[in-house]
Symmetry: D2
Subunit: 334 residues, 4 copies
């Protein structure tokens, strides 16, 4: 950590600060320039509050040299993490296709979609049982019944399933779920992350609507710090000034996350764009920039979907897209 | 709700859609223009999924005419809500000053700060016991012990207390807390909101970092829909492209919330700016645009603060600010 | 255009507004709902000020049904526009690779880079002569001399050239330039756009840092409204809250622009990301989602580049990338 | 400037870089930590390209210690700049009220508004003659005729006038204008800024829609670097994800600009909010946080305004607001 002192800092003030820093078990290297004095702080700076330091009258600015994340960092774990569920593998060169309806509605619906996406090449079935909705008056999902229906579809097709959790209170219901999803709104629900860190289930962690790359990795770190190393990161669009698509898909984070972390990274173009016709081009772009997987919404009857139908492909559209994704994957992997 | 149909929509397609809308218990008024046909949907449209409608091939766009919020809307409750805790009143012309340290640390610290902010005119004591931190390795607050210390300070000074909850799991610990705070990161933790809606405690709901005015009100609506009408809205800065202050304080939302809702609105300039020297001007600006209260961080010894010291005033700075706030309040209330 | 009147609007107020609208040569269709009255405005509404209408006390909201852009709209010009310079074609199925240094520095430099990018498959040479820099103390480009050097490189290689204009005052200097670039900061320099609309040069129009899709198309419309139909739209990253890359590349705008407009769309991953190692994955993603071309910075000696070297590939990196782009192009075009 | 070298940088690589830095006339202080090596660069670093340095394989990060702005910095000019036009003073404790219509329309209109805002206490008359509009089909202002009408109003009332320039091409028309305004869209039109720097007219520089505090000051620096020191900075709202007001008024920049720069800072709540009813509370908030002036739109007949009528107060509303602003100014100045 580097601390730059303001012009006019007295020797006594500087020594007072250095004494305090040494109390925090840090070594301090002093480097005097013409206008500014720079303190290099050596040791475990992860517990130092940068904002506190930066608030002191004599401090011009503070900068971290090393990143505060550890277990998710590629620096300490150079090889890719591969998450395995059933026959599916995600990361480390394994590409994974996750598909299914926004919400689970009926047994017929979920089994029909499951069979069709399996036939089209999906590796994992997705479907919402607990639904986070902006309004308390909107459909909130089938809850426990939705999970039962997903388990029926798993039995019928052999596809592993992923579905979202909204509160650790319901963790027991997820005993037979293969991957537990944490939605964008809960990316910094730290109590939930800690509880999931105590399980051994793979966690699909979605990026929050306005969270930085570092905050995203720190949320993965919350789960890992409790012992669970099976995490899949998912980019699903961020909030910006433009409104032509629901959110702005930030694909550049894919290669950037791969550089900083060993965790697999997938992309959800359905929630990001909110429009069926934008899903195929953005799914292909996600593959082209190196995503380890893509998660798309597929529905057998969009007009009747209880929610989010706007972003769901029909099974035949998904089948065509899946073929193109494989071709692009090959092209960029060469 | 208004639905505009695309050019080239056939009569059969339109009739199919109208039939589906009528199944949803809506009346449909058709209005044909030169290029477009407009459907006016009459009835309870709050359960209609706008995005689903908008996704249909024949639909150009969809627009809500009436707002989806009900209980927090001024339309259905024209007079201001006044929240009362102890002798403090917030809203309806009552101005309220909330002050205290970012984190509760020791009995001496919290009692000393409580006494000093009370002397300076604070109506309510704030202090963090459960702390949401970006990193799992940062100080997470004293938890239950922190709440006990706050209760000691309440006993010593008579000030009501407000402190943050991070999970409904800990609700029992808040039995003697006067106001329960929901932090920005949990503004859309809907399960937590529902649980708080079942209590009769006043809730201080902070706006999320990237949440719109409507989402903010819908989160209040989640609490109210379960029965709890005692809600204080709190603007605390949003995330934008600029980084000179920690967040961008969005004061314009204060008069806008007052227009749309009867709930009291306060402002937290400490977390928004992250810099002590920006707190006084922004606290005064908050008062000038009509806030029903201001919440500021005050600490007896900023250099030793375990967290967020960067944004804490010293008690004597707070006393001076409190005086100016009262003067501005009078000036704008005339 | 649809105007929704507030509850409680009197008959006289409504008639007053309708009279004013008819003065503006519009037909008005009135549609009364239970709570609201809707006015459908028929005719040329492009000159109506939506914000003025929306500001009236009796008006709840205003919504445009048809888009305000005309000449750039696919609605009025269904087939793709193809821009031709020399042997290069952009749009309508023709893919185009633009490459070159950020700044033109010396004759040797620009000719060497031009030869190498030509050998690697570039169709057009780019190079900055007039450089927009945040600071007046930063290198501002070689100006007229830079354009002369670009023309030398054109003569040596046969590649058409594209370079940025910063003021219509210098238009004469661009007489032999093949494509004139308008930079992001000048996207809404309307006087410059109008002047360029009076030329017959192809214009490469970059999206502004915080401009919406509609504003982007309206700036193209400024050029087209003066007579010049040869426009290439270029996405180059937008400004968001995250700072891990220089800007956030908004690739979703590529298919969206193709849907709304007939103009060709290219992507500049170099300026968007600001980091060499992010350029190849994002260039491939741009191709995968349907861009008509990619513009990348290539430099023969990054360490000595006077500006923006951080985002320049070496020629051999570019050659490898060009090959992969062709493969992905084929994969998605199938 | 501080440059942090990555772990694993060889001695030879480091020496190569240091040699290059010394060629740029910089002294280099080397400071070795456990994991990282830090280079402190001493001397005139304003011409060093941070992004180039940061792009090198061996470089972890680069940070400026001193700000790149000079002439606008309070460090080099501690006392406040006071801009004088006629009897009006802005800055250094002088508060200034600027008012007038969005667009100049007729002689009667502008003279009537000028007389009324003068009576209500305005110090300067504003009015648009050249109007930047998103659409080429929208009303573009009366141009030269509009300036003539403003000069009539100046003659009639004695109020100095401010109006916007959109191209240096029209500079001659501004010979008798008292303050030349640069609009948000032209904040980084560097050629225009340089031309204005060669005049001796006071410049009212509006912040761009998505420009940072530093970019804002650097644009002032462009003008000052050419010799013109008479600059008024104007905050007018930034673009964020929320759309309930037209832009997000960023009032925190007012005290922050006062800290960093000696230039006066005013606020335009009319364009920021886009809604008449939000103008008074935000104007009062601007005064409360220390703005040196406020600029508001006032119109004698909002319904007929050709543009931006939505944000214009009537003269009597302005008079009432002006009184309250003076009271708040006194309250915070104590």
């Amino acid at each position: 950590m580097i601390t730059v002192l303001k012009q006019g800092t007295s020797q006594a003030q500087m020594e007072h600060l250095i004494a305090w820093l040494k109390e925090q078990n840090l070594d301090v290297h002093v480097s005097r320039g013409q206008d500014y004095t720079i303190l290099g702080l050596i040791g475990d700076t992860s517990r130092i509050d940068m904002e506190l330091l930066g608030s002191l009258d004599i401090v011009e600015s503070v900068k971290r040299v090393s990143e505060p994340f550890k277990q998710c960092s590629r620096q300490f774990h150079p090889e890719d993490t591969v998450v395995s569920v059933g026959k599916a593998r995600i990361g480390g060169g394994h590409f994974c296709l996750i598909a299914g309806p926004c919400s689970v509605e009926t047994e017929e619906q979920i089994i029909e979609v499951a069979e069709k996406v399996k036939a089209a090449g999906a590796d994992i079935l997705r479907g919402g049982a607990f639904k986070p909705r902006t309004s308390p008056y909107d459909f909130q999902g089938l809850g426990a019944d939705g999970i039962s229906l997903l388990l029926e579809a798993k039995k019928a097709t052999g596809l592993p399933i992923v579905t979202e959790i909204m509160s650790a209170h319901y963790l027991d219901l997820f005993a037979d779920v293969d991957i537990i999803q944490v939605g964008a709104r809960n990316m910094q629900n730290f109590d939930l992350l800690k509880e999931l860190g105590k399980t051994d289930k793979p966690i699909l962690l979605k990026r929050g609507l306005a969270n930085t790359l570092k905050e995203f990795l720190m949320s993965a770190e919350y789960i890992m710090s409790e012992g669970n190393q099976n995490i899949i990161l998912c980019e699903r669009g961020i909030r910006t000034f433009d409104t032509y698509s629901r959110n702005t898909l930030d694909l550049t984070i894919v290669p950037m996350l791969h550089e900083l972390s060993h965790l697999p990274v997938i992309v959800d173009p359905s929630h990001a764009t909110g429009k069926v016709r934008l899903v195929p081009p953005m799914a292909l772009a996600a593959v082209a920039c190196g995503a380890d997987g893509v998660m798309v919404e597929v529905h057998n009857d969009p007009i009747r979907a209880l929610c989010d139908g706007a972003q769901s492909l029909r099974p035949e559209q998904f089948a065509s897209l899946a073929g193109k994704m494989r071709t692009v994957r090959k092209a960029v992997a060469q």
